[in-house]
């Protein structure tokens, strides 16, 4: 379609003079829409193939049934009846939400503080960049390695316990340091705080410094400026970080497995177990449940803050 392309370039670049007459304009419009669709097509295709189709597949399989040796493709609500009727599901779901909530609260506090320091206290841009890169250093190794490296540190004979023992702070090794909710949340915080720092830092950097001066001109104390100016203007960043952290924690299974020593469970672990037992329909149903719960949480969050408006 070289002629259309030509007229498109012409009418975009030059003012009304070169604009085609009315009948031609219609075709020009048409080709513009076509170009738009074509530009969107590759990503749409990738998403359709690798995101929408698998999720649809999972949704379909969740209504199938399975025996010890076969999977039966027949519509049945059996999986959901079992899932929703079992106390284990609800306990595990609650545990998942608990991990997510605690991790969110800690990463938000840490992330906000770090971002605030970087954005408002570090004056020189060189230092800002340097410190920001420093924050990303943990990402030079894989998630799993970062997580596993906590184990020798926190174990009964680990560095933390032996240090505390030798300082005389404790006289028996602390058991709750490893393979506990503490270690799970510690690992989550370690893994995901940066996902909070980055978007918050970004929105903070976009705050006009003169607004802070205007606030102090109006007699606002540091805390009041934080509460009435910085916090509201950072809300979109906080919201994006929140979505990152919540979805990552809600969907995790490996951290919980390693750091709790298989002693606690979240929904991800349930799914993993089912898959291990080749119970694909049951795993699918659990996945759908997890997806719905996560989407509901995000839906509520988006109600609270209109990200589109604030971006």
């Amino acid at each position: 379609m070289p002629p259309e392309t030509l007229s498109l370039a012409g009418s975009a670049g030059t003012p009304p003079l070169a604009r085609p007459a009315a009948p031609r304009r219609a075709s020009w419009r048409g080709s513009r829409h076509l170009t738009g669709w074509l530009l969107a097509a590759p990503l749409a295709l990738v998403l359709a193939l690798f995101l929408v189709a698998p999720i649809a597949m999972i949704a379909v399989v969740s209504f199938w049934t399975a025996t010890e040796f076969s999977i039966v493709p027949a519509f049945s609500l059996e999986n959901y009846q079992f899932l929703l009727g079992s106390g284990v599901t609800w306990r595990v779901l609650l545990n998942t939400v608990k991990y997510a909530a605690i991790t969110w609260a800690i990463t938000l506090t840490l992330g906000f503080t770090v971002a605030y320091f970087l954005a408002f206290h570090v004056r020189s841009q060189a230092w800002q960049t340097a410190l920001f890169l420093l924050c990303t250093i943990p990402f030079w190794t894989s998630n799993i390695i970062r997580m596993i490296s906590w184990i020798p540190f926190l174990g009964r004979e680990g560095i933390a316990n032996s240090a505390l023992l030798s300082w005389g702070v404790i006289d028996q090794p602390l058991d709750w340091l490893l393979f506990s909710d503490f270690s799970v949340i510690l690992a989550f915080v370690h893994l995901y705080t940066l996902f909070m720092v980055v978007p918050i830092f970004n929105t903070m950097m976009r705050i006009d410094r003169r607004l802070l001066e205007a606030a102090s001109d109006a007699g606002a104390s540091g805390l009041q400026t934080l509460r009435h100016v910085v916090l509201p203007l950072t809300r979109p960043g906080i919201m994006i970080g929140t979505i990152f952290v919540l979805t990552l924690v809600m969907g995790d299974f490996i951290t919980v497995r390693f750091m709790s020593g298989s002693q606690s469970a979240n929904v991800g672990r349930l799914i993993q177990n089912d898959i291990g037992l080749l119970q694909y329909p049951s795993a699918s149903a659990t996945s759908v449940l997890l997806l719905i719960v996560t989407l509901m949480v995000i839906g509520v969050l988006l109600r609270l803050v209109d990200i589109r408006k604030e971006l």
């Binding site: 001066e213 102090s216 001109d217 109006a218 007699g219």
Partner: protein, 324 residues
């Protein structure tokens, strides 16, 4: 003629590392007057204003307002209020909440602070936009809101940092008339930083012209324009020629130069029609350029073109001797 509301700078210096932004400046700003801090960019006028506001520390010297030393007081406790360049309105707050912000910080309850904000919005004629967000306002409207926000604290001195620079030329002229009106009505001191000499001439009771971190000359607008002390002042204020004569350097107003049958020989370099006047640039002997503002009617009675030989004359009495 000091009054209680005077603002005085006493040997104020501001250094940034090795660079000196404001060098030992002393000046008395009379209470209730409209003062323009004028100068080219980087001359220290903004730093001076920001030190008065308290947004910039003072390296040496002191600032006295209303008989009290305020050098180290936080911005809100000085009795000054600042209107920022580009206004710095809080984008997440409505116009009303922007204006009421400082009252909210003081803990004034909602009905009271909204009432007061309403009064100020009335003053700047923005009451009907009270519920909008700043992003829904035009530049001129944002400026009115910024003005109302600064005035809500009842300052003795209002500091304006290039308040008109973000507006288009038409609006600029209208807003400056309004600034002047407000200042007269409120009777408080305005200190207005600008790099536009026309703005300063139009507004100021007193112009403080700064250059290179110092005050070059300060005085009433007419005095600055008619009796520039230095070549810098003459050139910066515009409308002047600086000519070197054996007795020294002199400023000569461009509208005092006329085309005459007798006078200094010169060749026309450029002719620019400016409406009421025609600006004629001519080169005299000794490579000296001279600008003549000739009344339109007089010029077109006998028009000149670039390349024409002309004679330029002026009254000796209109030569003003420069000190530097």
């Amino acid at each position: 003629m000091r009054t209680g509301h005077d603002l005085e700078l006493v040997h104020v210096t501001k250094r940034y590392g090795d660079a000196v932004a404001v060098n030992d400046v002393s000046h008395l700003f009379r209470g209730g007057s409209y003062v323009c801090l004028l100068g080219p960019s980087g001359c220290g006028k903004s730093s001076t204003l920001r030190m008065i506001a308290g947004h910039e520390g003072v390296s040496a010297g002191s600032i006295v307002l209303h008989g009290a030393e305020v050098t180290h007081l936080p911005p809100a406790r000085r009795g000054t209020a600042m209107m920022f360049q580009s206004y710095a309105l809080f984008p997440h707050l409505s116009v009303r909440d922007n204006v009421a912000f400082s009252l909210r910080m003081k803990g004034v309850d909602k009905p009271a602070r909204h009432r007061r904000a309403g009064e100020l919005l009335e003053l700047v004629d923005m009451a009907r936009h009270a519920d909008r967000l700043p992003s829904q306002l035009s530049g001129g409207q944002q400026q009115r809101v910024a003005l109302a926000r600064a005035l809500v604290t009842d300052p003795q001195v209002l500091l304006l940092d290039e308040p008109l620079s973000a507006l288009d030329p038409f609006l600029r002229v209208r807003m400056r008339a309004e600034l002047k009106r407000l200042q007269r009505e409120l009777g408080i001191g305005f200190i207005h930083v600008t790099h536009g000499q026309d703005e300063a001439l139009a507004l100021a009771d007193e112009i403080v012209l700064m250059n290179d971190a110092r005050i070059e000359q300060a005085g009433p607008a007419r005095e600055i324009f008619n009796a520039p002390r230095t070549e810098f002042v003459a050139r910066f204020m515009g409308g002047h020629n600086v000519i070197a004569l054996p007795q020294g350097r002199f400023a000569l107003r461009a509208d005092d130069v006329r085309l005459a049958p007798e006078g200094a020989e010169a060749v026309v370099r450029a002719v620019e029609y400016q409406g009421g006047h025609v600006a004629l640039t001519a080169r005299m002997a000794g490579e000296q350029e001279l600008l003549a503002l000739i009344p339109e009617a007089a010029f077109f009675a006998d028009p000149k073109h670039p390349g024409d030989a002309v004679r330029l004359a002026w009254d000796e009495g209109r030569l003003h001797r420069l000190h530097a």
